[in-house]
């Protein structure tokens, strides 16, 4: 039974150092560089503009919006077709028809050859609430997973699982911080799905470890995790592959709006697969899980 194809454990140490380094870098990025929050969480106004008049350039747009006194303004290209994404601090309120005013002013600057395809305006109160509920949702899902694994397995397993999840979430957010990708509501949805997916990956390996622990009393946990990871390896790879196929398809063909979401998910699936093997399982070794741990459960 000891003849497994790949000796994952041999690299545990190296990969542990690697993982810890990545986590530290991510946390540092999150602390010092921070996240690029979109209007959902920062408040303000977002306009997706399509220029039907091909003469309209990005610098013209930028200049026009800067002249309108809207606070901090960013203008960037958004996909193809002369689409632009404009964001500014000021938000719509009752006393003035901000969007209408912007439309009118812009017509004066660049002519009528454009239309607003999407407008999102979020007040400070709502954005604070959205951010809060986003953080609560992620925290709650981590807690729910911790409890679920605890109930289905043992506390050692839930520690391993939760650390793996934290790793996935931190690294995904770290990448978003590094490249200043925008964080909006759909990214929160992506992070929650990553939590579910990564957990699902971890659970399958844990399930096998538990089964093998019951079966073999003479194999130490070190070899046992290795056997279990190998036995489930093809499933891990196939599932990650099909999920990634679906996600890449969303990323490439699903349109601009889903780009951030699918990118976060792609990262999360990769990190999640990695962490199931190199974080969740080594923690079990670290916590000295043995046949006793499992049998105690059966007695209860």
């Amino acid at each position: 039974m000891k003849d497994y194809k790949l000796n994952f454990n041999k690299y545990f140490k190296a990969f542990n150092i690697f993982s810890i380094a990545l986590i530290i870098i991510s946390v540092a990025l999150l602390m010092f560089k921070g996240l690029n929050f979109g209007v959902d969480f920062k408040g303000g106004t977002l306009i997706e503009l399509r220029a039907t008049d091909k003469q309209i350039t990005i610098s013209q747009l930028r200049q026009s919006f800067l002249n309108m006194n809207l606070g901090d303004v960013t203008v960037k290209e958004f996909g193809k077709n002369n689409d632009f994404l404009i964001k500014f601090e000021k938000k719509e309120n009752n006393n003035s028809d901000l969007i209408g005013q912007v439309k009118e002013d812009l017509t004066k600057f660049v002519g009528p050859g454009f239309n607003f395809r999407r407008v999102e305006s979020v007040g400070p109160k709502v954005s604070t609430e959205l951010l809060k509920s986003g953080v609560i949702a992620i925290g709650l899902s981590l807690a729910a997973m911790l409890i679920y694994i605890w109930i289905r397995f043992e506390w050692q397993f839930s520690i391993g699982a939760i650390l793996a999840l934290l790793h996935d979430v931190l690294l995904t957010l770290g990448v978003f911080s590094l490249f200043s990708f925008e964080i909006n509501l759909s990214i929160v949805a992506a992070v929650l799905t990553i939590v579910g997916y990564s957990m699902n990956d971890t659970v399958v390996i844990f399930d096998r470890i538990r089964e093998n622990l019951k079966k073999f009393s003479d194999i130490n946990i070190f070899d046992l995790t290795n056997i279990s990871i190998n036995e489930t390896l093809s499933r891990t790879i196939i599932t990650s592959a099909t999920t990634l196929l679906a996600l890449v398809s969303i990323y490439i063909f699903g349109g601009q709006i889903l780009k951030g979401f699918s990118l976060a998910m792609i990262l999360g699936v990769i990190f999640g697969t990695y962490s199931s093997i190199y974080i969740a399982s080594p923690i079990l070794i670290l916590l000295n899980v043995s046949q006793k741990t499992i049998l105690k459960e059966d007695k209860d």
């Binding site: 009752n94 579910g196 699902n200 398809s249 349109g255």
Partner: protein, 518 residues
């Protein structure tokens, strides 16, 4: 695990056919009236506007306290209770002093559950007002539930007014919902430019007719107001002749004499009587028509108007006169509404999103199908058939419940396609392992299914937990994602354990003597 009874097989087939029918009903028009159901497209897909309005309750509270104040005054006078310094402090506290002999009697009145002075809410076990007495000084303040009740009432009123205003404009299938204690959610499908509705919802539409007073300085009974164009300032009496409540109808009209657009109105009986009396005594005076604290116009009264109808002139365009009539017909909001969140998607972007979403779904679906065929051959085919029916079931269930499909919702379906094969992969991989030890195909498949069960269930429960949390804490389109992801888990388990297993069982029992089936 491989045995299916006849009844089971038939029910699986019936179940699958029914939901596939629902799915198909989204794409083809069936003539019959049997269960006409369709998936709703979210605002991000069909285009439209989402507005979140928040009511500013401060003015309502102040207003209600003022009414309370005058009713107290009236009560004291009627009952010959001697009081002094009756006043409102900081717009939140009613203050007054009573002569010592009345203190006890009035305190007990405030605590009386049957008195109208301080109404008692049986439901909350509390009075409308909290009060405290020190010597002969009374302080009255809204109790916690008094405020809750007040907000509820005014929000319900506002909801009704908002509904009327939107109905008058006539957009298709608006969705107007209460959110929390002071918010109203308005969803307007198919509306790509919500400017007009926004400006109509942003107005309180508090209309009053009051006389202009001549004295220079505003005194106790009057206030200084500006005209809408901001050019003129007039001192106007605080005494209201008639208000918007007295109006029974308002219409934009072309005035033949001046060739201007005006708003003509009809008053109710009380209003007509008061208006007639006031105009009779006020001939030669200017009557200011005030909307939300701004003077629309202040014409000079020439004749007594007792017919109960009249007209408002001002610098109206036909559009603005139409809007004003609409506002007057639908009534005044109890308090101003602020737009605190707006999301608008144009219909062309919505269509682009649908196209992109469907393209991504088709491509993702084919990539996964090809991968599975390549990897598992016959069993890949079985998994793929299950996957196709999984998709039918998923869309069918969404149709049955007339769920709202959003762009993230489509992403959820694509993701389900990617993750759904996982259960079959887990099972097939397990069967492969089992058949290394167990040479009897049927036994190997049986234990493969049995032994992989816990992993499959656990793996799906974790995703379900995420979906449930997202459903309760996510907002807008993201909620649509959690719905498709969550429903997708159930349809996946059904398609894997019933459809795929049924097909597997048929295949395996026919080929049980072949070697290395998988």
């Amino acid at each position: 695990m491989l045995y299916f009874s006849k009844i089971k097989i038939i029910s699986i087939i019936i179940f699958t056919v029914i939901f596939s029918y629902f799915t198909a009903s989204n794409f083809f028009k069936f003539d019959d009236n049997f269960l006409k159901k369709k998936i709703n497209l979210g605002l991000d897909l069909q285009g439209g506007s989402y507005l979140l309005l928040e009511m500013d309750n401060e003015p309502v509270i102040t207003q209600k306290l003022q009414i309370k104040l005058s009713s107290l005054k009236k009560y004291f006078k009627n009952e010959n209770i001697i009081f002094k310094n009756l006043k409102l402090i900081n717009n939140e506290l009613i203050y007054f002093e009573l002569n010592q002999e009345f203190v006890e009697k009035f305190s007990s009145l405030l605590e009386d559950k049957n008195s109208d002075i301080n109404p008692y809410y049986q439901r909350f076990k509390t009075h409308e007002f909290d009060f405290n007495v020190k010597d002969n000084v009374f302080n009255l303040k809204y109790s916690k539930y008094g405020l809750v009740e007040l907000k509820k009432t005014s929000l319900n009123q506002a909801l009704e007014i908002v509904r009327r205003r939107i109905d008058e404009i006539g957009t298709n299938e608006p969705n107007i919902l209460r959110r929390g204690s002071d918010r109203i959610l308005v969803e307007l499908p198919g509306l790509d430019d919500p400017q007009r509705i926004k400006s109509l919802l942003g107005k309180t539409a508090n209309l009053t007719f009051r006389f202009v007073v001549q004295n220079e300085e505003p005194s106790f009974g009057s206030e200084k107001l500006t005209t809408e164009d901001g050019l003129e300032e007039l001192i106007v009496s605080k005494r209201i002749i008639i208000s918007g409540e007295n109006l029974v109808d308002a219409k934009p009209r072309m005035d033949n004499q001046s060739n201007q657009t005006v708003v003509s109105f009809t008053l109710d009986r009380v209003g007509a009587k008061r208006f007639g009396k006031a105009t009779r005594s006020g001939i030669g005076k200017r009557l200011a028509i005030i909307l939300d604290g701004k003077i629309i116009s202040a014409p000079v009264v020439r004749d007594a108007i007792s017919s109960g109808s009249g007209q408002i002139s001002g610098n109206f365009t036909f559009q603005s006169a139409t809007d004003l009539s609409l506002l007057l017909r639908s009534g005044a909001l109890p308090a101003p509404l602020n737009i605190i969140e707006e999301r608008t998607v144009g219909p062309d972007l919505g269509q682009d999103s649908i196209d992109a979403g469907i393209l991504a779904l088709i491509i993702g679906f084919f990539l996964v199908i090809l991968f599975m065929l390549f990897k598992y051959k016959v069993f890949g085919l079985i998994a793929n058939v299950a996957l196709i029916f999984n998709l039918f079931l998923l869309v069918g269930i969404l149709t049955l419940f007339e769920a709202t499909l959003t762009l993230p919702g489509i992403a959820g379906i694509i993701l389900t396609v990617g993750m759904a094969v996982d259960a079959n992969v887990l099972i097939f991989e397990r069967i492969k392992e089992e058949s290394k030890i167990e040479k009897n195909n049927i036994l190997a498949f049986d234990s493969g299914y049995n032994r992989s069960k816990t992993a499959v269930i656990d793996a799906n429960v974790t995703t379900l937990i995420s979906a449930i949390i997202l459903f309760f804490l996510g907002s807008g389109p993201v909620k649509g994602f959690s719905v498709t992801l969550g429903v997708g888990i159930f349809t996946t388990l059904f398609s894997v354990y019933f459809i795929a297993r049924l097909l597997t069982s048929l295949y395996v029992t026919r080929n049980k003597h072949k070697e290395s089936l998988i």
